[in-house]
Structure formats: C-alpha cells, structure tokens
C-alpha cells in the first residue's frame, strides 16, 4: 500500500513555501515528519501517527485482528508492550495456514514500505536542515544592517525631547498670564452685568417681563449685598433695590386688580421672590381663587337654571367647572407657598382650609340645590318616570364622584362623607315622599269610601223620621235641619267595595316600588361603597320599615277618619292612658312607649297619622263606614300585609325577611285598631238608640194616660237595633237574622216596694253588685251579630237607666216605663245568647224607676197581665217591622 508510493523529496522541501503540488504525498510526508519529531501538537497529532501505525499493524492483521482483542496491547505492533514471539504464537494458534501465509506476505510488504519511508525521511530531514542553515545566514545579515538605523533613531528622539522641554518652559509664564487675563475678563463681564443691572432691570420692567427682571435681580442680589461697602456697588444696589421696590409696588397694585387666578399665581410667585411676606400674599391669592370660583359657580348655576338642564347634566357641569380647577388651584397654592422659608405651615393650612371649606360649601350647596326633593313624587302627587329616576341616579353618582375627588384634597371638608350623607338623606326623603304619595292616595280613597258610605246611608227609610242627628249637632248649627239621608234608600243595595281600598293601596305600592326600586338599589350600592365600614341601615331596610309604618298608619288613619272616640290620641298613646281596661291598644302602645320613647319606629308611624293634619275626621262618618274600616283592619295581617311583603320582596329581592311587615307589633296594632273601630260602630249605633230611648224616657214625664202601648219613641228607638243589625250583616256578609223571641217571653219581675226604704234597697243592690262583675258598657265587642247587638243593648239600657235616675216620674209614667223597659228587655234578649248582663241592667233600671216615682205608688195600678199583653203586642209589631227591613226572624 505505502510501498507503491514514492513521494519526491523535492516536494517535501516545499513544506515552508507551501506551494505544494502533490497534496496527498506532501501531507503524508508532513505526517511522517511530525511523528518522527514527536510534534503531536502540530500537524495531524498523535492520532495521525497512531492511525498510521495502526494502519500498518491493523491493515496487516485485518482478519486476524478480529480475533485479537483490541485491548490486548501485547498483540499490537505499534504498542510498546508488543511481544513479537507472543504475537507469532498467537497467530500460530489461531490462524490457519493460508492466513499465516497471507500475513507473512503482508508483513513483508509492510517492512518494505517502512524501509522506504525511513529512507525518505532521512532525506527530507537533511533537506530541511540545509534550508534552515540558509535562512539563519540571511537573517544574520539583516540584523547587522538594522543596528545602525536604530542608533540614528535614538539620537533623534533625544533631540526631540530636549526641544520640547525647552518650548514648554519658555511658554509657562505666558500661560499663567493668559489664565489671569481670562479670569479678569470673566470678572469684568460680571461687573458689566452689575453695572448694567439697573438699566437691564429697567428695560425688563418696561417690557413687562417681570419674571426676567426678578431673575436678574435675584442673581445679583447676594453679590451686591456682599460688596455693598464699595461705593459703586452700593449705588447699583440702591438703584436696583429702588427699581425692585417700584416693581414690588407695581406688582402689588396689579395683585389688587387681578382677577385671573393663573396670572395671580405668577404675580404672587414673583412677589414672594421679592421677599414680600407670604402672610400678606396668601389671603390675596385665596381671595382671588375664591372670587373666581364663586363667580364661575354662580354663573354656571345661573346658566343651568335658565337653560333648564336636567339634574344630571347640571351636576356634571358643576363638577366640571369646579372639581378639577379647584384641585389644581389647591395644588398650585401648595407649590407656591411650600418654600421651606415660609412661616408655619399650620397657618398656611388653616387659611387654605378656610377658603376651601367655604368654596366646597358653596359648591355642595349649589349642587345639592339642584336636587329638589319635592319635585318628583312630591306635591304634584305623581311618581317619577323611569327616565327621571335614571337621571337622578346619574346625577347622584356624579355628585358623589365630585365629592370623592375633592375628598383627597380637602381633608377638613369631609366632603365624601357629606356627599354620602346628602345622597342618603335625599334618597330617604325620596322614598318617604313615595310613601307619602301612597298615603295621600289611600286617604283619598278612604275618604271617598267614607263619603259613599255616608251618602248611601245606614238606615232604611222610615226608621228615621227626618229629625236629623241628635248627637253632634252643635249650637252653631241650630236652625238647620240636616237631612242627608232622605234620598239614600234607593242605592242601599249597592255593594261598597272596601277591598278596593286594599287593591288601590297595593297597586300604588307596586307602582311606587317600581319607580323607586332603582334608586333603592343605587343607594345601597353607592353608599355601601362609600361607607363600607359604618354599616348603616340600607334603603331596603328603610323601605321595609316604611312599609310597616304604612300599615300602622293606615289602620290609625282609619280610626282618625272615622273619628273613633277613644282612639289612641298622641296623649293617650304616650302617657295618660295607664288604665289598661279602657283601651287595650293604648295600654299596649303605652307599654312600648315606656320601654323607650324612641323605641319603635312603628309607633312613630302610628302617631304620624294622628299628628298628620291631612288626616282628619270625616264630616259625619257613618257607623257602617266604621265597620267597614274595622273589617279592613282585621284583614290586614291575613291579606294585605302578605301582599305588601310580596311586592317588596319582588322589588328588593333577598334583602330582608317578609315577616318584618307582619310582625306581632303590627298585628297587635291592626287588631286593636280593628277592635276599636268595631266598638265604635257599636258605640255610634248604640248612642243613636240610647239618645232616642232617653228622649222617650224624658217624654214620659207628664204621662197621665193609662198604658195602651209601648211608647212610640221607644219603639222607634228600638228599630235602631234592626238598622245596626242590617248594617253589620251587610258588612260582615252574613244573613241578617234574629232568633225567635219565644224564649224571652219571661217577665222580669220587679218589686216596686214603696214601703221598703231606699237605703235598704241600696244596700241590697250593693250586696248584689259586690258579687257580680261590673258591667263594661262600651267595648268588648266581637265580630258577630250577637256580640254587636249585646253591645248595643248594654249601651241603650245603661243610658235609659241613667236617664231614669235623673227623671221625675209620675205613677202613670212609671207603668208606661215598666212596659217600655220590658219591651226593650225582650227585644234585647232575643238578640243575645246570655241575657244575664241585660237582666242586670234591666233590674237596675226598674229599681231606679221605682225610686224616682215622686208620690207613693198605687199598688197594682196596672196589672202585670195588662202590661204583658201590651208588650207582646208591641213586640209582634216590632217583629213585623224587622221583617219589613229584610231581617229574618226565626
């Protein structure tokens, strides 16, 4: 392989010239040389040699090597540990003859190749040596010639150094002179500035560039002061100072005239630089700002008013013209007066705060004045439209935003808080106005209902013989006979829709909630943000509370409208009524009031109806209206308040519990209102009957004729029972029936024992009374015809008894009275279940009657039997009368 090659030595000599032709042979040569000289680092490196060596060995042992472990250095020819005899042994052991022969051949070839290589290397080596000798020789010649030149260079360099030194030293004196001159020149320039200063200042002032003048003056001032002992400098100083004084005066004059805040800022800054004390300037600047803002605000306000802008637009405009400029003004103010040499910053803050508070107040006042609490849902009685509500919400938001922006800059104004307060107050007012609207509407409805009830009349024709109302007619009215009911009987059958009032209130309530709900939500949202921590009552809760008030108000308003005698007037509610027996609610309310005066907002709702001048008694509320109201009140907690709660829940979901409208307090109140109204219904009818019955008793005074019939007046009075029964049956929606009179046939025996002294009778009665309960004449009425009629009978009988006690009765009149009282008793007894109370009152009346007979009674003047037949007769005709009124008598 190698042997075939015969590289030329010549080509090897070209190793340095590197213009080798035969690349391959030359490269081989270089490798060989390199391996020989151990120049591993240069050239192909030891790898190359190894390759060559291995190439030699490996190539020779090609097939063998497969059988020889590569790591077995003993078998590698190039390795230092190579053991020829071992190798041969190994070959002999492992290889076949053919292989051994082939290996032999190979090794011969290799040896030959190696010999030629060696030869070639020797040659090459020699060749190189010769070339090197030549090179060394030429180099020696070159160095000798250079030495001379170097000497020349050294000499000239020395010369240059000498000359440079010389020049430097000769110029040194000049240089210092020049430095001095430069300094002098600078000084002169400065001096020139100083000397020109007055003119320059004058010029600047003339040109109006005051800032420039002040700047120059400030530059010069300290120096001038320093050199003021020099005459010329002091002159300059004096001159400048004078000019500056003039300037100061001029600026001060300008300050007085200037109204423009930015200009003012500049002027004030200049004056401050001119050493005018800040204390003098601050008020001026503040005043200027104040006037400016005031003017702007007022102008804007005027414009807004005249342009009739919407609220949100107005508020936004005000925000625009005030908030940002004001913040800027405050900032610039701080900048101007923040210089460290200013006297106490406290004073500064104080002045500023004073002004800013005043300004904020104005701004706030103007902004809030745009919100007219009465404009919507107010006097006109309408509710705001959705767009109005939207506007309102936007406006409130703008207002809050403005105040919040200002808050950071006006620490003392508490503006954010005030904004929130205003929003809260405004919204509350708004909501309250909404509820007020409902109240007005309800009141109108109730009044019309009351009016309708009055015009319908509560009595069928015939029962009232046109004599007008006995009670309630005052002396002023004397001369006119009121006949409001003469034409009323025709429309008697028309049903009154008291439930319509419910529906109306609910409808209005729904409308109101619809209209205010965005505001409520907005308010809760916004105020929730503003005062996250304070945890005030939300508007939702406010609405709920107001709704409770509404229920309380409604029931109390009914009482006022009806003019219930013992309604809890504020005085009764709050203090005078300590007697629980008289009016249970008053006592209940009282117990509330005693816990704490302000305890219950609900009570305030109740009393607001009592104190409201708009709620006043109807002219002459009919008894029927009272009963209708009573039924309404009674239905409150069953139908009305749940519906109310439903509306609230749907409008303000999940914000509160519906139970709150209908809690025990409200229920207790409505129930007692209902009871009082019912009692009043009984009282009205009862007093009507009583008044007529008393007239009948008074009329007996001169009675002389024997008894033939029950006194017509008494009979007529008793027809009042029928009227009341019909009224009650209509309103309570039951059939007007009375039970048969058979069981009341018994005659109430009295022993008008004239012989027995009154004192004894009194004693006897006393003993009886001790063991019997005192009769409660008024009140204690239930929602049943029986209970109502019993109430009427009690009122009538007690009144008759009292009238009898005050009368003088002739014996004939006494007989008549006996018949009358028995008649009333029998009628009463057929109305009620338990006649004991009635009998007690009848007894009392009969005893009183016996006592009031002036002259001694003639025994048996008129037989009981006669009287009985008279009474029975009258009772029969009374039954007929009842039937003719449409009352069923069983």
């Amino acid at each position: 392989m190698h042997a075939g090659r015969s590289p030329s030595i010549g080509s090897m000599s070209d190793d340095f010239s590197d213009d080798g032709a035969e690349d391959e042979s030359e490269e081989r040569m270089r490798d060989l040389l390199a391996s020989y000289y151990g120049l591993g680092a240069a050239g192909a490196g030891p790898g190359g040699v190894a390759t060559a060596g291995a190439g030699g060995g490996g190539a020779g042992g090609g097939p063998v090597s497969t059988r020889i472990s590569a790591s077995d250095a003993v078998f590698r020819m190039d390795a230092a540990e190579f053991d020829s005899s071992e190798y041969v042994r190994h070959l002999l052991r492992t290889c076949e003859t053919a292989d051994l022969l082939q290996r032999n051949d190979e090794m011969v070839h290799e040896i030959k190749a190696l010999d030629s290589d060696m030869q070639m290397l020797v040659y090459e080596n020699y060749n190189k040596f010769i070339t090197a000798t030549d090179t060394i020789r030429s180099m020696k010649q070159n160095v000798e010639s250079m030495e001379g030149e170097m000497d020349i260079l050294v000499a000239s360099m020395d010369e240059i150094a000498d000359k440079s030194e010389h020049i430097n030293s000769s110029l040194a004196s000049k240089r210092s002179q020049i430095d001095k001159l430069v300094r002098v020149r600078r000084l002169l320039k400065r001096l020139e500035f100083f000397f020109e200063l007055p003119q320059r200042l004058q010029q600047c002032i003339d040109e109006g560039s005051f800032a420039q003048a002040v700047k120059y003056f400030k530059i010069a001032r300290d120096t001038l002061r320093e050199y003021s002992h020099v005459a010329s400098f002091s002159n300059i100083q004096a001159e400048s100072e004078e000019l500056m004084d003039q300037l100061r005066t001029r600026l001060k004059a300008q300050i007085q005239e200037t109204l423009e805040p930015t200009q003012m800022n500049e002027l004030v800054q200049l004056l401050l630089e001119l050493d005018v004390p800040a204390a003098d300037l601050r008020p001026k600047l503040l005043q200027c700002h104040e006037q400016c803002f005031r003017k702007t605000l007022e102008e804007e306000m005027e414009r807004i008013r005249s342009a009739n802008d919407t609220i949100d637009l107005g508020v936004q405009t005000l925000n625009q013209v005030f908030v940002a400029p004001f913040v800027a003004a405050i900032r610039s103010f701080h900048e101007i007066f923040a210089a460290p040499d200013q006297d106490g910053s406290e004073v500064l803050e104080e002045d500023l705060n004073l002004m800013s508070t005043a300004m904020f107040d104005l701004f706030f006042q103007l902004s809030t004045s745009l919100f007219d609490p009465g404009s919507l849902g107010g006097k006109e009685g309408g509710l705001p439209t959705p767009s109005e509500v939207r506007d309102l919400a936007t406006a409130l938001e703008s207002l809050l935003e403005g105040t919040r922006t200002l808050d950071a800059h006006l620490p003392t104004c508490n503006s954010s808080e005030r904004g929130a307060d205003f929003v809260e107050a405004f919204l509350s007012q708004r909501l309250a106005a909404g509820f007020q609207w409902i109240r007005r509407e309800t009141l109108a409805a109730l009044e019309s209902l009351g009016g309708a009830a009055a015009s319908l009349g509560s009595e069928p024709s015939g029962a009232r013989s046109g004599e007008g109302d006995f009670p309630g007619t005052s002396v002023e009215q004397v001369g006119e006979v009121a006949l409001p009911n003469s034409h009323a009987s025709t429309s008697e059958a028309m049903p009154l829709p008291p439930k319509a009032v419910f529906d109306l209130v609910l409808d209005r309530f729904g409308k109101m909630m619809d209209s205010t709900q965005p505001l409520v939500q907005f308010g809760d949202l916004v105020l929730g943000e503003v005062r996250r921590s304070s945890g005030r009552a939300t508007f939702a809760a406010f609405t709920a509370e107001e709704s409770r008030h509404l229920v309380g108000w409604l029931s109390t308003a009914m009482e006022v409208l009806v003019d219930v005698t013992l309604r809890p007037s504020p005085v009764c509610v709050w203090g005078l009524e300590r007697d629980a027996s008289a009016t249970p609610t008053a006592a209940a309310l009282q117990s509330h009031a005693e816990d704490s005066w302000d305890a219950s907002a609900f009570l305030q709702g109740v009393t607001s109806a009592l104190n409201d001048p708009a709620v006043s008694a109807l002219d002459s509320p009919s008894p029927r209206f009272a009963l209708e109201c009573s039924v309404l009140c009674r239905g409150f907690h069953r139908t009305f308040t749940p519906a109310l709660a439903e509306i609230i829940d749907s409008a303000i979901p999940a914000s509160w519990s519906a139970a709150r409208v209908d809690d025990d307090e409200v229920q207790a109140h409505t129930r007692s209102c209902s009871n009082r109204l019912l009692e009043y219904f009984v009282e009205l009818h009862g007093n009507e009957i009583a008044a007529r019955a008393r007239c009948a008793v008074r009329g007996l005074h001169q009675e002389q004729a024997p008894v033939t019939t029950v006194t017509p007046a008494m009979f007529e009075a008793c027809l009042g029972f029928g009227t009341a029964l019909k009224d009650a049956a209509t309103v309570l929606e039951v059939r007007p029936t009375v039970s048969a009179m058979s069981r009341s046939e018994t005659w109430r025996a009295v022993r008008p024992t004239s012989g027995l002294s009154s004192a004894h009778k009194g004693l006897q009665l006393d003993i009886e009374r001790v063991f019997s309960e005192r009769v409660q004449v008024f009140g204690e009425v239930g929602f049943s015809l029986t209970s109502i009629l019993e109430g009427l009978a009690k009122i009538a009988l007690k009144a008759i008894c009292e009238q009898v006690r005050a009368s003088w009765i002739s014996p004939e009149a006494y007989q008549q009275l006996l018949a009358d009282v028995q008649f009333v008793r029998q009628i009463s007894c057929c109305f009620v279940d338990d006649a004991s109370v009635i009998d007690g009152l009848v007894d009392e009346t009969l005893v009183a009657a016996a006592d009031r007979v002036g002259s001694a009674l003639r025994e048996g003047a008129s037989e009981d039997a006669d009287l009985r037949s008279v009474v029975a007769q009258s009772r029969a005709s009374f039954e007929t009368a009842l039937r003719s009124m449409g009352i069923e008598v069983r």
Binding site: E467, G468, F470, P471, G472, T473, S474, V475, E476, V478, G479, V481, T565, L566, S569, P570, V571, C572, W574, G575, L576, E577, R578, D579, A582, T583, A586, A593, W597, N687, A691, R692, R694, C695, R698, G699, A713, S758, A759, K761, G762, L765, D766, R769, V770, R774, Q776, V777, F778, G779, K798, E802, R805, W808, I809, D851, V853, G854, S855, A856
Partner: protein, 362 residues
C-alpha cells in the same frame, strides 16, 4: 297625713250633689245633697273630715223640702248655702255653731230644719254658680234653655241669658252646669246639650261663643283657676277635654279613662295640673295634666325636653264607689284632699298620692 287612705261615709241614697265648704278650723268640710223625688226624704248633710283621725262624719243634717238639683256656697259667708230645686232657688243659712267634733253616733233625730233666708220661684233650676267677685256677686242659675242671673239681695232674676232656640225635638234643654270665669268674672260658661256656651254678662242678648264640646252631650265645665282662657269639659263620650277658648276647633288635650259617661271634672283650686274626674262608671280618676297647666314640670329629672308622657298621665283611679258618681269636689282648705259622692249616698274622701304631691311641690 301622708297616707292616701281615705275615709268613707254612707249617706242617704239618690245623692247627686257635693260641694266643698270653707272650714274655719282644722279639717275639711263638704256638703252633700240628695235629689229624691219623694220630697220629704231629701237631706242636706254637712260632712267633716279630720285628717289626723282619718274620720269622716256628718256634723249636721238638714231636711230639704224638695229634691235638690244644685247646691252652691253663696259666696259672702261660709255658712250661706244656695240650693236649687225643680221649683226655684233658695238661700239657706247653716247653723253657726257647727260642732268641731261630733259624737261617734249622732242622734238619728238630730236632723234639723234649715233656716231658709229667701226663695225665688223661677222654675226648674239645674245648676248654680256664684260669681267670684267680692261685692254683690251675681248668682247664675241654669235652667231650661238659658241662665237666669240674680243677686243675693233680691233673689229675683235681673237678667236672663237665653240660649237661641233649638228646633230639634227631644233635646235635653236643661243647662247642665254653669260656672263663672275666675279670671274675668263677668264671663259665664255653661254646658248645654253637646255644647259649651259662653256669655259676657254685660251683653245678655246673645252668647259670645259656643262650640261643640262633646259629641253625645257635655256634662260639666270648669275654668282653669290659674290660666285664663283654658277650660275643661266632661262629656257623655267618656272623655274629659281641655280647650283653649281662643281656638276651639279642637281640644288641646283629651283624657280618656272612663268607661261610661263622665259626670264631673274639676280643677284643683291650687295646682291646676291636678284634675279630678268622675263618672257613671263609678270611677274617680285623678290626672296630672302638667303640659297645659300654668306651671308645667320643666326640668323633671333634669331633662329639659320632657316628654308628654311624664308631663301628663292618669295618677290614680279610685274605685271605692259601687254606684255611679255624679259629683266630686276638691277640699276648699287643702290642695291634696278631695271627696266624691255616688248615687247610693256614699261619700269617699281621698288624698292625692304623696309622690304626686312632691312632684308638684318640689
């Protein structure tokens, strides 16, 4: 002295009238009268109440020839008494030497004849009032449809104050009560039907003022003794009402506490915040109406904004009567004692509770 326990005295039944009399010595003196149609059984009793012994006894009983419909001290002398009856007015002189202390059991036969001084037959008089003037006081006698005025000297009506005709039938036309204004003694106020009617005695032609006071009838009227233009009225609507005569559209206070008609309402003569009312329900109520009195409790408990509840309240209900109470009166000699009379003749003397007393005094 400090207990509020009163004393009870049983008198003749059909008693409707009670007045306080001035008492020269210690104790309190009241006079009661009956209104019995059986003419021979009417009595006038003078009662003496001794606080120390807590005893109420009648010191004298007089027969009255007719049913008494009104009694009234005649003003000039403490022992002159005016009574009204269905026939007219009579002036009586009580016995001068009324014993200070009478025996425990007075002799039943000690009923004396009254010394009648004069009598005017002017029909059925239902109320009497002596003008609170020193000289020549006029007597107002309420009768049907008007009031007659006369002097003690003549006992014949000098003036007649007529209530304008009322066409309504069956109206109780009796003037139930009349009373003189203590501040302007020429002004007379009376309760008639549902109204309160005022006259100025200088012009008897027509009333100066009238207004509806009680829906179902007014029974009593009393002037505030310390505060001009304020009156109190009681009515058959179970209410006691207070009126400012300058604004009579609505009462300035309403007291509700009786369960039947209120027959009497009286101001305490010394402390107008104390008011007494009684009614046919047998109850006697004592009220404090401080807020509209001449001396409201201003700094009660040191709290300036005092609430009405503490200013005005019912002080106590005295339920010692079993029968309707038609008359009640404050003692003439002491601010803290009053008496009430029920139909069965029982007179009860009671005290203002001492706590209430201190509230007013301290």
């Amino acid at each position: 002295m400090f207990s509020s326990a009163g004393a009870v005295h049983g008198g003749p039944p059909q008693a409707r009238l009670l007045e306080a009399l001035k008492c020269e010595g210690e104790g309190h003196r009241f006079v009661s009268a009956t209104s019995n149609p059986q003419e021979d059984s009417n009595e006038i009793q003078v009662l003496h109440f001794d606080e120390e012994a807590s005893s109420l006894r009648h010191v004298a009983s007089y027969t009255h020839p007719e049913a008494a419909t009104a009694i009234c001290p005649a003003g000039v002398d403490s022992d002159h008494l005016l009574t009204a009856s269905p026939t007219g007015v009579a002036l009586w002189k009580l016995q001068e030497d009324l014993p200070e202390v009478v025996s425990e059991h007075p002799d039943p036969g000690s009923v004396k004849e009254l010394g009648q001084l004069a009598k005017a037959s002017i029909g059925h008089v239902t109320s009497l009032a002596t003008q609170p003037t020193q000289q020549e006081p006029k007597i107002a006698a309420g009768r049907e449809q008007g009031v007659s005025l006369f002097t003690l000297g003549s006992l014949t009506p000098t003036e007649n104050l007529e209530i304008p005709g009322d066409p309504r039938p069956h109206v109780d036309r009796q003037v139930r009560r009349c009373t003189w204004d203590p501040h302007t003694p020429r002004v007379l106020c009376c309760a008639y039907d549902t109204a309160a009617i005022l006259w100025d005695s200088r012009d008897s032609a027509r009333p100066t003022q009238s207004f509806t006071a009680h829906k179902y009838g007014a029974t009593d009227i009393d002037f505030n003794p310390n505060r001009p233009m304020v009156i109190m009225s009681a009515g058959e609507d179970r209410l006691v009402k207070f009126w400012d005569l300058r604004h009579t559209q609505a009462p300035i206070r309403v007291l509700a506490g009786h369960t039947h008609w209120v027959t009497t309402a009286r101001y305490n003569r010394f402390h107008d915040q104390l008011v007494l009312s009684a009614g046919t329900d047998g109850a006697v109520n004592l009220w404090r109406v401080s807020s509209i009195s001449s001396s409201p409790i201003l700094d009660y408990d040191g709290e300036p904004g005092m609430k009405t509840e503490t200013m005005d309240s019912k002080v106590n209900t005295y339920d010692d009567h079993e029968e309707a109470v038609y008359s009640a009166a404050w003692s003439a000699s002491d601010a803290w004692v009053f008496a009430s009379l029920s139909f069965d003749g029982r007179v009860v003397v009671s005290f203002v509770p001492s706590t209430e007393k201190y509230k007013i005094l301290l």
